[in-house]
Structure formats: structure tokens, C-alpha cells
């Protein structure tokens, strides 16, 4: 171990954790597939609900506790075009997050990693989320 390469290797080890560390390939390296889409969609819908949905939930509960006048303000805001957009968005985020979350619970058991099975459920989850959202609003508005 007196070769120059060996000394370079030892020197590199000594600098480990400080600079020139190899980086694992990131998003732009891989060809996009449904599993990647449903993964980032799970994060977007979950954090979206946490940041927007919980605000609307607290406004709803607070308006109820505040009395008829405050509930009227809430009901007015939520029946404007922007209000409906927010409510539809939250309901879509919930149903999508629920489907991809159930997928995660199955994956947590160690099942569903075969390429075709994984691709199938990764494709079904976001579609099921949209269909459940449509069904929810159809029942709500057409009853």
C-alpha cells in the first residue's frame, strides 16, 4: 500500500463527510413513472391539507361555536367560486391522500413491490382519488 493511488484513497477517506462525497441520483436521472407521481402526490396532498384544510376545519368549528352570525360569514365564504374551489380541492386532496395512504400501508407490510403490481396500484390510486371526489360532490349536490 505504498502506491500513489492508495495514498489518495486514504486521503479521500480522511476527508469523508466534508467534501466531494458521491451524491445518489436524484429526480432528473430517473424516467418518470406512476410510482414517482403517486409518491410526490401523497406529499403534496398531505401537506396541502395540513396547511389549508386544517385552517378551513378550524374556521368551520370556530364559526359553529361562534354562533349563527359567524357561521353565516363562513357559509358565505365557502359558497363563493373560490370557496367551492378550496372545498373541492380539500376533498380531492383527502380522497387522493387516503388512496395513496392505504397503498403505503400495504407497502409497509412488504407487499406490492413487484414491478407490474406496483405500477398497477400506483396508477389506480390517483384515479380512484378523482373518482371518489366526483362521487362525493355528485351525491352532495344531486341529493
Amino acid at each position: 500500500m505504498t502506491l500513489p493511488q492508495a495514498r489518495g484513497f486514504v486521503s479521500a477517506m480522511a476527508n469523508a463527510g466534508t467534501k466531494n462525497r458521491p451524491l445518489s441520483p436524484h429526480l432528473q436521472i430517473w424516467k418518470w413513472g406512476p410510482h414517482m407521481f403517486v409518491s410526490i402526490l401523497h406529499r403534496i396532498t398531505g401537506d396541502g391539507m395540513a396547511l389549508v384544510g386544517l385552517g378551513v376545519l378550524l374556521w368551520w368549528l370556530g364559526a359553529l361555536a361562534g354562533g349563527p352570525a359567524s357561521y353565516a360569514t363562513f357559509a358565505w365564504a365557502m359558497t363563493t367560486p373560490i370557496g367551492y374551489l378550496v372545498l373541492v380541492g380539500i376533498s380531492w386532496a383527502f380522497f387522493s391522500h387516503m388512496c395513496s395512504g392505504l397503498r403505503h400501508l400495504v407497502l409497509d407490510t412488504g407487499a406490492g413491490y413487484e414491478l407490474k403490481v406496483n405500477k398497477t396500484w400506483a396508477t389506480i390510486c390517483p384515479i380512484a382519488g378523482v373518482l371518489l371526489t366526483i362521487a362525493f360532490w355528485a351525491i352532495l349536490l344531486l341529493r
Partner: protein
């Protein structure tokens, strides 16, 4: 992170010793979210309308009141865990500590407000 000794370069970079608990509670609250939010979804579909009188009469009853209180606790807990991951994945500067403290304050404060609102309604203090 130190730059001198070998131990100085690695100290503080190991496991936080709390990762498995965080991961498990995220799954447990996912299941309680599923039960309580689906209860809310079905309730909204079964209620004749979403007017003040209808909703207050519904949420003041014991089972809906308890389910919505559990929903608030479960959902805020799950959201706190999820937003913590978001912060830890994307914020690497000094703001991280500030954001994590703010997240805890917001989650506990928001959850407490939601629970209080339902208790106030259920105990008839709105009337």
C-alpha cells in the same frame, strides 16, 4: 460539525433515537384519521343540509361530538408529523429549529381550539 478530529466530524450525525416512534405513530394516526374523517364524510352526505341549525344539532350529540374531537386530535397529530418531515427534508439552515418550534405551537394551539369549539357546542354553551 467539527473539522479537526475524526470524532468531531461525526458527532451529532447519528440516529436521533426517535425515528421508529415517529414512523409508527404516523401509521397509527393514519388509521384513526381514516375512521374519523370517513365518519365526517358520511355524516356530511347523510345530513339533510349544512345549515347552522342542522350542523349544531348534529355535532352536539354525544357520538358525533366525540368523533369530531377525536378527528381533531388525530388529524392535527398526523399533520404535525407530516409537516415535520417536510421541514426536515427541505430546510437545512438555521430556520429549521424555528420552524419546528412554530409547527409544535401551531399544531397544539390549533388542536386545542378545535377540541374546545366542539366541547362548547356539545355542552350547549352556544345557546
Amino acid at each position: 460539525m467539527g473539522n479537526g478530529t475524526s470524532i468531531g466530524r461525526v458527532r451529532g450525525l447519528g440516529s436521533a433515537k426517535g425515528g421508529v416512534h415517529h414512523w409508527l405513530v404516523h401509521r397509527f394516526t393514519a388509521l384513526s384519521n381514516l375512521l374519523t374523517v370517513l365518519f365526517l364524510v358520511v355524516s356530511i352526505l347523510l345530513l339533510p343540509d349544512m345549515s347552522y341549525g342542522t350542523v349544531v344539532e348534529w355535532i352536539s350529540r354525544p357520538v358525533p361530538a366525540v368523533m369530531i374531537i377525536l378527528l381533531v386530535v388525530s388529524v392535527f397529530w398526523h399533520a404535525r408529523l407530516g409537516l415535520q418531515i417536510l421541514i426536515e427534508d427541505y430546510v437545512h439552515d438555521a430556520n429549521k429549529l424555528f420552524l419546528l418550534i412554530a409547527l409544535n405551537l401551531a399544531a397544539i394551539g390549533g388542536g386545542a381550539f378545535g377540541v374546545f369549539c366542539v366541547i362548547r357546542l356539545a355542552l350547549g354553551a352556544h345557546a
